[in-house]
C-alpha cells in the first residue's frame, strides 16, 4: 500500500528522513493542492538514495537541463530540442557526447544539479498531497544519479531557513529594479557570479523581478537570493514604477528565453527609435 498524506501534516524533511532511514525504493509524488499543471513533483529513490526528480512541466528534457547549467547555449538547446524530438534523455546524452558538445561529466553534473534544485524547491512547499509508490522507478531511458539523502536534507533545511528570511525581505517579485543612483565605494570591489551577471544584464525599470527570473530560468528562491544580495551590496534598488505599456514592436527579449506574455521581458529595446539615438548623441556631445 502506498504511503499517502499531506505536507501540512508531514513535511518534506520528514518524508525524506523516513525514506533515508528505511532505505526505501520507490517514487514519491507530491501535488500542489492548487493543481496547477506544473505543480507536481516526483522524486525517485533506490535503497534510500535519491536517484531522480522532476517537476510536472517539461523542464526535465536533457537539452533544457544542459542549457540551464550553461553547458549548452540557448540556441543549441533550441535546435537540439527541435531536431531530437522523440529522442529520450539517455539517447540524447549519448548523441551529444558523440558530437563533442558536452562531456559525460557535464551531463552528470547538470542532471545532479537539476534533481537537487527540484528537491530543494519542495522543501518550501507547505501544502500538497503526497504519495509514495514502493518499487516504482523512473523509466530506463531517464538518466539517474545516486545522491545521499543526508546532505540533501541538511542543505534543504538550510535553504528553508534562508527562504523564510528572503520571503520576508522580498515578499513581492512583481517590482522592478534599477541600478543605484548613487553607488558607494563598496561597489569598487564587487564581483558577480555568472547567475548574478545574467540578472544584472536584465536590470531595467521595465522588467519585474519575476520576469527576470523567468527569462533566466531561475526559481523564486534563486532570484530572491540574488536580488537580495545585490540590494544589500547597494548595486540595485527598487524602481518606483514599472511601465506595463510596452508596444509589441518595442517589447523585446533575449530571443532564446521564455517570456511572460502579459508583459514581455525587456532586456533592452532593440527596436530603438531614432529619437533615442539622437538624444544620446546630443548628450554625449555635451559631456
Amino acid at each position: 500500500m502506498a504511503l499517502k498524506g499531506n505536507l501540512r501534516d508531514f513535511s518534506t524533511t520528514q518524508l525524506l528522513n523516513l525514506i533515508n532511514l528505511a532505505r526505501k525504493t520507490g517514487t514519491l509524488t507530491i501535488q500542489d493542492e492548487d493543481a496547477q499543471p506544473n505543480a507536481t513533483a516526483c522524486m525517485s529513490f533506490k535503497e534510500g538514495k535519491l536517484i531522480y526528480a522532476h517537476t510536472g512541466d517539461e523542464s526535465n528534457n536533457l537539452a533544457k537541463i544542459l542549457e540551464t547549467t550553461g553547458k549548452l547555449t540557448a540556441e543549441q538547446a533550441r535546435v537540439i530540442q527541435t531536431k531530437a524530438k522523440g529522442t529520450n534523455n539517455k539517447q540524447l546524452g549519448y548523441l551529444l557526447i558523440q558530437a563533442g558538445l558536452v562531456t559525460q561529466q557535464d551531463i552528470t553534473q547538470s542532471v545532479r544539479h537539476y534533481i537537487l534544485e527540484v528537491v530543494y524547491k519542495l522543501f518550501t512547499w507547505t501544502e500538497g498531497l503526497f504519495r509514495f509508490d514502493a518499487n516504482e522507478l523512473p523509466a530506463d531511458h531517464q538518466i539517474t544519479i545516486s545522491i545521499d539523502l543526508e546532505s540533501v536534507i541538511m542543505e534543504g533545511s538550510r535553504r528553508l531557513k534562508e527562504w523564510e528570511i528572503l520571503q520576508e525581505e522580498l515578499p513581492d517579485l512583481d517590482v522592478a529594479l534599477k541600478f543605484t543612483d548613487r553607488p558607494d565605494a563598496r561597489l569598487q570591489n564587487i564581483n558577480l557570479t555568472v547567475e548574478e551577471w545574467r540578472v544584472v544584464s536584465f536590470v531595467n525599470p521595465r522588467n519585474t523581478i519575476k520576469q527576470i527570473a523567468k527569462a533566466n530560468n531561475l526559481s523564486d528562491f534563486e532570484i530572491r537570493r540574488i536580488v537580495y544580495g545585490m540590494l544589500q551590496a547597494g548595486l540595485v534598488e527598487f524602481s518606483r514604477s514599472v511601465k506595463t505599456a510596452v508596444s509589441p514592436s518595442q517589447a523585446t527579449a533575449p530571443t532564446t528565453k521564455p517570456q511572460d506574455t502579459r508583459q514581455p521581458i525587456e532586456q533592452q529595446p532593440p527596436a530603438v527609435k531614432r529619437s533615442i539615438v539622437v538624444r544620446l548623441i546630443d548628450r554625449i556631445r555635451g559631456i
Binding site: N189, T193, W197, V203, N204, Q268, V272, R279, I284
Partner: protein, 184 residues
C-alpha cells in the same frame, strides 16, 4: 525610465575599463586585475569582475556601458552581455600586435551574436609604438566600411568621439531599415 546598453569589448588589458571610467558619471568599475588567474577551469562558483558605467541622458533615458571580461576563459559572459545591446566597441591595444588576432576573434564572436553596429577603437594612439588605425585594418582584414577610430582611453574627447561614431552608425542603420521598410 528607459535604459539602453552598449558593450565595450576587446582583449585583456586593451583599455576597456579606462574607456568606461573616462566617460561614466559613476565610479562603478572593478578591474580585471581582481580576477584570480589560478583557476584553470570555470567553475560554478567562479566570480567575474564587474565593469560598467552610466551616462544619464535625462529623466527618461539612461545609457549603460558594459565592459566584457577580457580573458578567453570568461567568454561565456559575452553572450549574456551582448543580449539587447545597441551597439558595441571593440577596443584594441594598438601597441600589442600579439593581441590583434584575439581582437579579431572577439569581434567575430560579437558579430555572430547580433547584427548591431560596431566600431573598432585603436587605443593607445598616444604611444610611440602604436600601430596606425589603417595598418590595423589591413592586418585584421577589415572591410573599408568598418570604422577604425584612433583612441586614447583616458582622454574624454577621444572616448566621446568613439561613442559618437558608434551612435552615428546606429543612426545610419535605423535610417537604412526605415528606407527598406518603405520600399517594401
Amino acid at each position: 525610465m528607459q535604459a539602453v546598453k552598449m558593450v565595450i569589448t576587446g582583449p585583456f588589458s586593451a583599455g576597456k575599463t579606462r574607456f568606461i571610467g573616462t566617460i561614466s558619471e559613476i565610479d562603478v568599475v572593478s578591474t580585471e586585475r581582481r580576477i584570480t588567474t589560478s583557476a584553470e577551469q570555470i567553475k560554478d562558483n567562479t566570480t567575474v569582475a564587474m565593469d560598467f558605467g552610466r551616462i544619464t541622458v535625462d529623466d527618461d533615458l539612461v545609457l549603460y556601458l558594459f565592459g566584457t571580461p577580457g580573458q578567453r576563459r570568461f567568454d561565456f559572459m559575452w553572450d549574456i552581455l551582448s543580449q539587447g545591446m545597441l551597439g558595441f566597441v571593440v577596443m584594441i591595444d594598438s601597441t600589442k600586435p600579439e593581441t590583434f588576432r584575439e581582437a579579431k576573434r572577439i569581434l567575430e564572436t560579437f558579430e555572430s551574436y547580433a547584427s548591431t553596429p560596431y566600431v573598432i577603437a585603436a587605443n593607445k594612439q598616444d604611444m610611440e609604438d602604436a600601430w596606425e588605425p589603417e595598418d590595423l585594418r589591413i592586418i585584421l582584414r577589415l572591410d573599408s566600411s568598418i570604422k577604425i577610430l584612433p583612441c586614447i582611453a583616458g582622454n574624454k574627447e577621444s572616448v566621446k568621439n568613439v561613442l559618437l561614431e558608434l551612435l552615428y552608425s546606429i543612426l545610419e542603420q535605423i535610417d537604412q531599415q526605415e528606407a527598406q521598410n518603405q520600399t517594401d
